[in-house]
């Protein structure tokens, strides 16, 4: 019963959602609205669950002194600082347990949580993403080597698209006459993105969608049970 009940719920819910797509009238439309509201509420609790899980996982690694444990400690300290500043003095218009922290606001110019978000979290987050540029440049230098016909093709395409995505690229071929505009680098780049790229992307999307339909059916029909936990 412990396993059968969730299977029955999954079957009924999945069946209802599928049916409501084909019959968007009462009572199915009402049922699906209720289910969607439940989903919104349950998703809210998932955030809390995620935070507890993050705390426990990091704490365990620090206790066991795993390699690089000080990074987990730094993560936990940062987590606690943001949590406490938010709880104590609130964020933006919302007040916290200790009110709006007007004294602190007069010192740093905004609420402690907002100050940390604007001047610590935001720059750090943007920096992490921008570091990718350095790795891409390094990888391009070391790995983008012509070895075969396919890699040659990939290289030519990449060069056209990269040049087409720069202001310099459009300047390079801007002198071309009207009847040769197709060969203008931005146009050539757009052509590659619009046709070969879209065709390949559509193939991937359709394959993925078929895969999702297949696995969803397996879950609804109770064939796929790994989401229940355990391996039986």
């Amino acid at each position: 019963m412990k396993r059968n009940l969730p299977l029955i719920f999954a079957f009924l819910t999945g069946f209802l959602v599928v049916i409501s797509e084909f019959i968007p009238h009462r009572p199915f439309s009402l049922m699906i609205s209720t289910l969607q509201n439940w989903f919104l509420i349950i998703s809210g609790f998932a955030i809390l669950l995620g935070q507890i899980s993050l705390f426990q996982a990091n704490l365990a690694k620090i206790k066991q002194k795993e390699s690089g444990w000080y990074f987990y400690l730094a993560g936990l300290i940062s987590f606690m600082i943001m949590l406490l500043t938010g709880l104590l003095w609130g964020t933006q218009e919302y007040k916290g347990i200790l009110g709006h922290g007007t004294h602190l606001q007069s010192l740093v110019g905004s609420k402690p949580f907002d100050y940390l978000f604007d001047f610590a979290y935001m720059p750090l987050s943007a920096t992490m993403f921008s570091l990718l540029a350095f790795f891409i440049a390094s990888a391009a230098y070391r790995a983008f080597i012509i070895r075969s016909f396919e890699s040659n093709l990939l290289m030519i395409t990449a060069v056209i698209v990269i040049l087409g995505r720069t202001s310099f690229g459009s300047m390079l071929t801007s002198w071309l006459p009207e009847n040769l505009r197709f060969w203008h680098l931005p146009n050539l780049s757009d052509f590659i993105m619009e046709f070969p790229n879209s065709a390949a992307q559509r193939a991937i999307m359709i394959s993925a969608a078929l895969g999702i339909i297949g696995s969803s059916l397996r879950i609804i029909l109770g064939i796929e049970r790994s989401y229940l936990g355990g391996d039986k």
Binding site: Q36, L40, F117, M122, R165
Partner: protein, 276 residues
């Protein structure tokens, strides 16, 4: 010198040259012109042709990691919407999108001091559950957003008086850097309720979304990356941060091409030497 140390030195040289190449154009702008693509023009046309006083949705589905590319787009599109006197409902399917929306409002509102919160623009805050949130908005928006970010009840927000479902929205604009984002808006807002959808994304995500810009207009144009943001700034006649940063990005792209060429020459010489 071992090959590993040699490789490390090469990496450091690449990093250093790239840093210099990105920094110099930011300090001394070159002023290269950006050509407007069809995708950017299509997005511009949607906003431009939407009637005055229409309520539109701007969904901030990204976080600060991608703000370099997406924030200039958000600001340019918001500026355009305000200049067309549209009423903007900002929301976020990503938790930090709320702050991104506030920052975009704070910057753009300087050019439109007459715009009033609640009358011309509003921030409804973050909503969890991705596509289900959009589906629910199609049925009952006051139920999805009982209050705005400041705690004002939905019914007390003047600009939302006649907005009950997604069908009352002129268009949805999703600035997204992943899931949930543009794809979810296309599936749940356009395909289910016929709400026109446009959006902007990072350059790396754009190829995956281009199939939605099709004859059915599932997506009304798409801004992909900083270049598209600068194209949009060009279309609205504003020199924003994207236009300024575009020189640096162009130089970085050219440098990557140079690195690829050097890498190939090096590989060719190594192959030649090993054959000899």
């Amino acid at each position: 010198m071992s090959s590993n140390t040699h490789s490390q030195t090469e990496r450091h040289i690449v990093f250093l040259v790239l840093l210099v190449a990105v920094t110099l154009p930011l300090l001394f702008p070159i002023g290269w012109k950006t050509e407007v693509s069809g995708y950017a023009r299509m997005a511009w046309q949607l906003i431009d042709s939407t009637p005055d006083s229409s309520v539109v949705v701007f969904s901030f589905d990204y976080d600060p990691s991608t703000m370099t590319e997406l924030q200039p787009m958000a600001e340019a599109m918001l500026y355009h919407a305000f200049s067309r006197n549209q009423k903007v409902l900002a929301m976020a399917l990503w938790p930090q999108g709320v702050q991104m929306a506030d920052q975009a409002y704070a910057k753009v509102i300087k050019s439109f001091p007459d715009k009033k919160y609640g009358v011309d623009f509003v921030n409804m805050g973050y909503k969890i559950a991705g596509i289900v949130t959009i589906q629910s908005m199609g049925k009952n928006m006051p139920e999805v957003f009982p209050t705005d970010e400041r705690g004002t009840k939905y019914a007390d927000i003047p600009m939302l008086k006649n907005v009950k479902t997604l069908k009352d929205i002129a268009y949805a604009n999703s600035l997204s850097s992943g899931t949930p984002g543009i794809k979810e808006w296309v599936m749940a807002a356009h395909d289910a309720y016929g709400t026109p959808v446009t959006g902007g994304t990072t350059a790396v995500s754009a190829p995956g979304l281009l199939p939605y810009v099709n004859s059915q207009r599932q997506l009304n144009g798409l801004l992909g990356g900083l270049k598209a943001a600068s194209e949009y700034e060009n279309l609205i006649g504003q020199i924003g941060s994207a236009t300024v940063k575009m020189d640096a990005q162009s130089v970085a792209h050219l440098l990557i091409l140079v690195f690829i060429a050097i890498g190939n020459v090096k590989a060719f010489l190594v192959r030649k030497r090993s054959k000899a």
